[in-house]
Subunit: 364 residues, 2 copies
């Protein structure tokens, strides 16, 4: 039976054949993104290349530090390069007589390309081809969805555990540290991004870094994610310390309404821009659309930000199995910000909201 | 008075002028490494470019998310790009009539280079020039050394705090989480790399990831670092749970002897390969040199691994103010590994060992 990673490699090779049918390019794809390599082989080390041939071949390259690890993780042909991987990769290109080798322009530095070009076999050429594997990665398979579910679950548990340990006089930084610690203790490999804990007016900065600010009464925005079995989760929740005033309750309600409308619009076959519009339209009704300064969400998986983007200008058509975030927010300088975010999976008929944490306004 | 970052920019421009004197290249340098940009401007955001001209100009580019932040952090000319930074950068290149613009081949993707090339002004060309800023960054200024000292101090305190919370039945993962948590609570921004906690035979893997392994009696290797004020620290210490046997004591002594010999050989004017040799020679005397499978150390600063490398083939001449690690180790499959690592600063007459943690064998 074909392994999960073997199936993925076959799908990637099918993509290459499809491309070659249309454009006469490529004979092979040299993969240099470690995320793409992990996706296609299961390898978790920090140095590797993978050469997929339209002839069905899959050659994996790493260095001697990973001899044992590659032996146990990788089920295609493994080459342990004694010098730089480049030399071994070029040798394999020569041996297979690949002529048009696609490279990943977003995942290869100019320096690395130069090193490859310098000793390229006579008749071979390197051609940039974007996003072959990234596009496959948009739609998650069962193994991936299981990991994302687990990640989302631990992330939500970690929030509860951390809030239990919240004390008066705590700073943003301390609460962020508490969140990361609880998440690790619950089984996360680490945070999927720098945990955001923003209190008071600072919540108006969508990318606030936690600082030495004391968490006082008022708005508290928490945006957190975990990596579990290499897969990301992402959630934003609002807490109000002390009784919230009218403006906060009203704005919270508007953002929640926008978030639910966006979730409601998610379905296989729908364009991502339509989901974005659903959130924006609700906020417009509350005269808050100009305060919504980012896109509605993004794909996530082996990376915290993956395709597709759920934004005004994106035209990706949603497919069942895509894992995305839905996270509208409004930001008012000098007052504060409110964002509500879930991780959801697209289905044929709608979507499944994975995040179990309640969106009822939490007052502490 | 010139700010610290202004002095650094002047030093970078002096380097460019020196280069142009010799090779007629370049008129300007386009900096795309965020670490280099932070070094030269103080900017801490996640999207920026910096164009340094040999005419003395310094143009900084970022997007609207960072308007306020750039305003307060950056003291050279700031452009807030409405679309991709590329367009604004190209406009500035055109306006300044730069013809030969150096790019950083290790810090620019093939895709980003293509985007630049596509709309490059008529007479301009892009030329890869490696390591201009990285070379400057090797020698730390007072501001940097203060941050590294602080980072090293917090890192050592975090080890003590975490060991106090070590309990029987704890796993590697749990101790690693405890270390990261204590470090954050003491003021670190986060770990400088994935904390290594490797017990028993697993300590023989130089890059072991902490796992669900229970920390039992025997060898325990802890390799940890913090980022404090953006600067890294790095330390490895060995703990023995229960009374160590003869082989462990003997091997520990040999590694410590090698580490001290390497430290002893550090001085401005000495080649890094000589420092590496000092460690290797001692281990050879104990018949352990073949078990020492990596280099003796590396520079550190804004990144955990920076130039120079302290290895057999490196020929960098040490200069006062370089911050490096000294970390020989021996790894015996099926038995375990021992590594001892300090962060040190090169001085004219020798070096200052920053790491305050004792290297006496610690038995718990």
């Amino acid at each position: 039976m074909a392994s999960t990673v073997e199936k993925r490699r076959k799908a990637a090779i099918a993509k290459l054949l499809e491309l070659r049918e249309k454009t006469d390019i490529p004979d092979a794809l040299l993969i240099t993104s470690l995320h793409n390599i992990r996706y296609l082989t299961g390898f978790t080390g920090s140095n590797a290349s993978l050469l997929l041939g339209t002839d069905g071949s899959a050659n994996f390259f790493t260095d001697p530090r990973y001899t044992l690890q590659a032996g146990s993780q990788v089920d295609c042909e493994v080459t342990i390069a004694k010098g730089p991987l480049t030399k071994s990769v070029l040798k394999a290109i020569g041996k297979a007589r690949h002529q048009r080798v696609a490279i990943e322009p977003e995942n290869l530095t100019v320096g690395a390309l130069e090193a490859l070009r310098k000793e390229l076999p006579a008749r071979a050429e390197l051609v940039p081809v974007s996003g072959v594997v990234e596009q496959l990665r948009m739609v998650k398979d069962e193994t991936e969805l299981a990991a994302i579910r687990k990640s989302v679950g631990i992330n939500s548990e970690a929030l509860e555990a951390a809030l239990k340990h919240m004390k008066p006089g705590m700073t943003e930084t301390e609460l962020a540290a508490e969140i990361d610690y609880r998440s690790r203790r619950l089984g996360a490999d680490g945070p999927a991004f720098d945990t955001i804990v923003a209190s008071g007016e600072r919540s108006a900065l969508p990318h606030a870094h936690p600082g030495p600010t004391l968490i006082g009464s008022g708005i508290l925005l928490i945006d957190m994610g975990a990596f579990v079995d290499a897969y990301a989760s992402d959630m934003t929740r609002m807490v109000h310390i002390g009784k919230p005033g009218r403006r906060f309750r009203k704005t919270y309600k508007a953002v929640l309404e926008a978030q639910l409308a966006a979730i409601d619009s998610v379905r296989a076959g729908v364009k991502t821009s339509k989901v974005d519009r659903a959130a924006r339209r609700v906020l417009k009704g509350h005269d808050l659309d100009e305060r919504f300064t980012h896109s509605t969400g993004h794909g996530l998986g082996l990376e915290i930000h993956e395709r597709p983007r759920i934004g005004q200008k994106d035209s990706t058509v949603l497919e069942a199995g895509m894992a995305i975030t839905i996270e509208p927010g409004v930001y008012i300088e000098g007052w504060g910000g409110i964002r509500i975010e879930d991780t959801v999976v697209v289905t044929e008929k709608g979507c499944e909201v994975l995040t179990p944490t309640s969106k009822d306004l939490r007052v502490i």
